[in-house]
Symmetry: C2
């Protein structure tokens, strides 16, 4: 049954893992069950002590705020009760007395929250009530999310298990980079995503606001900038403030990103004098890495940027401001190894950009230095205050930390690469080369950021692209390093996904809806069977090689199916169990193969009736062929007397 | 197999129609196929001419507004393109040239629209483009909905069929009464419902803003009024204006309702002097018909109401204002037949209330008259301007029209009674006694209103309670009287429901989500099987007899399942076909019965694992018993050589 990896021009491939080949999962399976079962919460808390009984959530359940710090968070508690009501279906109508979650903190955190703020909390639940305590209000924000996730349906109705949780994050910087340049995400979508981030205790929205394909924030200094972008959409400064306030109320910082000098086409459309080459520029409609680049040799470039970044520094209160990856094709007419155009790490600067960094970090950059610090061997001159977002790997991260820079990890956390929960759960900011750093350098490793580039992501499928995989990254960044049981995580993610659906997220139901749209009918059983067997192609296969434009309709199977197939994962487990002699698993494998074999005839009329689905005929045929081969192999094995035929 | 009707303490019963008894459906089935197939649109247009080919909807599709009237509706067209994008998944990025829907009107309609406004339009679609033309902008609003509904997935991708449609409504008053007193509906929910109303060409939102259980609009004259209501929620006057503007942009009038003198508990909580009985009043937490009533014998009552209605008449621009049904238990200490307390039709008045009507209608009420006009034999004195909303039946409606009053029909359109599409589709404002009215009286029959009382409806299940049944009422009120093919309607409603789901409505997916919540898992197959076999109890069984309070959690099976079961309807058709000798139908009946029989064992662990589902154990057992009996009957019949055993 070794079937390898299928890929089609439709850009949907069978995931390799249900080929029957046992691969990297083995390592995780070996750890399963080794740790004591934690609570049904993502991310796992630092300490958990189960107690007997549970707290029933019934009509009238309340949140009682004790003391001025907690009382000042009235909107948070009203919102929490509303969410509890969506989780349970019990009306949001707190009684004057009776069971409650009592919340108490010593001191209000700054809003927006500061990097390194104390987010610790303790949560004690018994059969009569629950008590959430924190030194700072940021801790209460984290703790109430734990409480909400603990509420599940039980034989006694909705309830939270009695327990004592003492929790604090492992890393202070736990972010999501959201690209709104390739596809614009409306304010409501951004807020909704902030709700989800808060649910898994992320605390930085890294907002990628400019790129070759669009410039998404209003500038009053340069009012033509935000006229650029395919949908013609951008955030007004009032909307930016609204998002910052919304994030702030959830303990989330907002770090804006404006890319210089590369990824800069959008700046140049109306301000071509910034560019290295005279002439006119068009906003980019394709995906990839493009030539247009700002000219770092002109003083006027810095004057422009000083004014622009000055305006943005007033708009965005966070001390950090991201200036891009600087990755370029080299710039027309300029050498690729020009120090001003280096393909480097997340945040970097040189002569003029240092001024930008000054504004962004508030530092005077007296400690700026030139290239001999070994972290990248690049000759880039940077301020010591600059924080490096590492996307090139643990080696670069370790070098930067050793050279004295604060660093965060993004390698392995690129959710747009369509990798599995297990793959995104594996990387550790302090893993690989960083594990060997001296303690002083380790302390500079502040956390990490998941990245969601949106070449093929719209507001419609964003939930299915982010969730539940983002929660796996969130757990890696919050929970103790030894929390690594990926099988247990998969189980907890199922529960989290269900609870998120109840609160209006559509990681699963969005897929179902898109399948119905493709088929033009509600009855899409055979299409669901086909969809369940495939995953989108991985890594950059679709993005870089296909030269799609941003106007490509993202309404096909590849856009609808989740990055990781639950069916395929279960099937892979069954195959491994069957090979190990598990008879029940063997029967399930056979049932699945028969279903796949017979599905082709059932789904065919649906595929032929829809111009969106017609391209899937070869895929369905291939699935049937694979299934027939699998059944034949099982028959042969059974005939030969094999244990797991 | 004659199983009758099952009802359980869980308030979910098997629908009678899949007992195997062939009942009222026969009459509809006989008409099926008698009419030429209309387009896939609800409501059906007045005239439709199919042509060959279709218009492909691809990236870049545009709406071109010709002339100042259509050009002034830019927001409408942007919104239409956004909705088209949700229907197709194709980006909302109109090109500079290429296929378009061209829109053109002669004259802008008033905003808000006036009763009787010309809503006619014509829509011509060919393979190169589409052209929508109307005398007034209101007609364009109706026509663009027709266009959007025509877009479906085809073998050639998304497309609209080439055709010529000439359309206009049969009745000018096509409304939905939405009760926001029993359960508050947030502004977003109201707007969302207005979107749905516009999609099926309804043009009146009758907003039931006060009742015994709550007072939901801000009054500046009497600022304690809106402090009443279980959730403590009300609309600010700014929000009311926002809703009116939102409705206005969709060609929908907003008619507010404030009930006097009955259903008046909420007024009396803070203004007890209005009541017939001195003392204190509490907002009503139960459902039913209650004693508290305003005292019509005190001049101060009229002074209060004059001031209140004066304020509301300034807030709500529509000339109509609904003052309630006046249905009371008689008022403590007053006789039921007191003319001031009569249980009458929708809008009525007597001595003092006539002043209210004066304000509401702008009439001077010189033609007020006393009770001898025969329409209700009640002795109620009313202005000629008063419009009667008839909920007591066609006889009352005909009498009122004959007596000179404008009338609308609501009998048969009470969606909270959980009746079927077929039942709500049947009543006709000009049916029954009205069919025999002289032409002059017939002209006073202005249309009808669906009613959605919300004792057991929350924002969560509102979509499943309204849709698709509201569309059946909308078709009755818009389409020609001879459009009556209910089987064809069921098919078109499936398509409409799917398209509405794509636009964010959740009539179906909301049910699925609630089932998952009850079970605490995504895998709810056996629960779906059980849920598919049942419908909520009908009429007032749950509401009046059970004495539930408004705080009752509406998170159970009865709250989740649609009022009408698609599975049950299909099964009923199969049973009838099987009895008629259809062998394929007989096989489907057997498969269904086997599935129901075997489902009990499969669903039992799920029911026992959830406190919300535990009450369904007897229901599941009963379904299995019924299925076994059905299978036995089939076996006996087969053994006896019957054709449809």
């Amino acid at each position: 049954m070794g079937l390898g990896r299928f890929q089609y021009s439709t850009h949907v491939g069978f995931a390799a893992r249900y080929s029957g080949r046992v691969r990297s999962f083995i390592t995780f399976l070996m750890t399963a069950g080794a740790l004591a079962a934690g609570p049904n919460v993502v991310p796992q808390p630092a300490k958990f002590e189960a107690r007997s009984g549970s707290l029933t959530i019934a009509a009238g359940f309340r949140i009682v705020a004790e003391g001025p710090c907690a009382a000042a968070m009235g909107r948070t508690w009203r919102d929490s009760l509303r969410r509890l009501s969506r989780i349970t279906g019990i009306p949001d109508a707190p009684a004057a007395s009776g069971p409650a979650l009592t919340v108490n903190c010593q001191l209000a955190s700054a809003v927006p929250v500061k990097l390194g703020e104390d987010e610790a909390y303790s949560l004690e639940i018994d059969t009569r009530g629950a008590r959430l305590t924190a030194a700072r209000s940021a801790g209460l924000l984290r703790g109430v999310e734990t409480f909400l996730q603990l509420v599940t349906v039980t034989p006694g109705g909705f309830a939270a298990p009695a327990c004592l949780i003492t929790d604090a994050p492992r890393f202070p910087w736990r972010g999501l980079m959201l690209d709104v340049a390739r596809h614009f995400m409306p304010v409501e979508t951004v807020k909704h995503t902030l709700d989800g981030m808060a649910a898994v205790k992320l605390n930085v929205l890294h907002w990628h606001l400019s790129d070759d394909q669009g410039f998404r924030v209003e500038s009053k200094s340069f009012p033509l900038l935000h006229r650029v972008g395919l949908e013609g959409e951008f955030y007004t400064q009032d909307q930016v403030r609204e998002v910052i306030a919304y994030a702030g109320a959830r303990g989330i910082r907002v770090v804006p990103e404006f890319d210089v000098p590369g990824h800069a086409t959008a700046w140049l459309v109306h301000y071509p004098a910034l560019g290295t080459v005279p002439g006119t520029y068009q906003v980019e409609r394709g995906h990839g890495i493009f030539d247009p680049v700002m000219d770092p040799s002109k003083e006027s470039t810095y004057q422009f940027l000083d004014r622009f970044f000055g305006e943005m520094a007033r708009l965005f209160p966070d001390p950090y401001l991201h200036i891009g990856r600087m990755r370029t094709t080299g710039g027309s007419g300029r050498r690729r190894d020009d120090p001003g155009l280096h393909e480097g790490a997340g945040i970097a600067g040189q002569h003029g950009a240092a001024r930008v960094l000054q504004q962004a970090t508030g530092g005077d950059c007296e400690e700026a230095r030139q290239g001999d610090d070994g972290w990248d061997g690049s000759g880039i001159r940077m301020c010591r205050e600059a924080l490096i977002q590492s996307w090139r790997g643990p080696k670069e991260l370790a070098a930067a930390a050793r050279a004295g820079y604060p660093v965060i990890l993004s390698t392995g956390f690129y959710l747009d690469l369509m990798q599995s929960v297990a793959q995104h759960y594996e990387p550790d900011p302090l893993g690989g080369e960083a594990a060997a750093l001296p303690a002083e350098a380790k302390a500079r490793v502040l956390g990490g950021e998941a990245c969601m580039w949106t070449e093929f992501v719209t507001p419609e499928n964003l939930d299915n692209r982010l969730w539940p995989r983002l929660a796996a990254v969130a757990e890696r960044l919050w929970s103790p390093a030894e929390v690594r049981d990926v099988e247990a995580l998969y189980g907890r993610l199922e529960a989290l996904t269900l609870q998120m659906e109840m609160q209006g997220f559509r990681p699963r139901s969005g897929t179902e809806l898109m399948l119905r749209r493709m088929a033009g009918t509600k009855e899409v059983g055979p299409l669901v069977t086909l969809a369940g067997a495939v995953e989108p192609v991985k890594e950059y296969t679709r993005g870089i090689l296909s030269h799609h434009e941003v106007t490509l309709p993202l309404n096909r199977l590849i856009d609808a199916v989740p990055p990781e197939s639950v069916v395929a994962r279960e099937f892979g487990k069954d195959v491994r169990a069957a090979l190990g002699g598990d008879e029940a698993a063997r029967r399930r494998v056979r049932v699945m193969l028969v279903a796949w074999r017979d599905n082709d005839a059932r789904v065919r009329p649906m595929l032929e009736g829809s111009g969106i689905l017609a391209e899937l005929v070869p895929l369905s045929d291939a699935l049937a062929t694979v299934a027939r081969a699998g059944l034949e192999a099982m028959d042969n094995r059974a005939a030969a007397g094999g244990a797991a035929g």
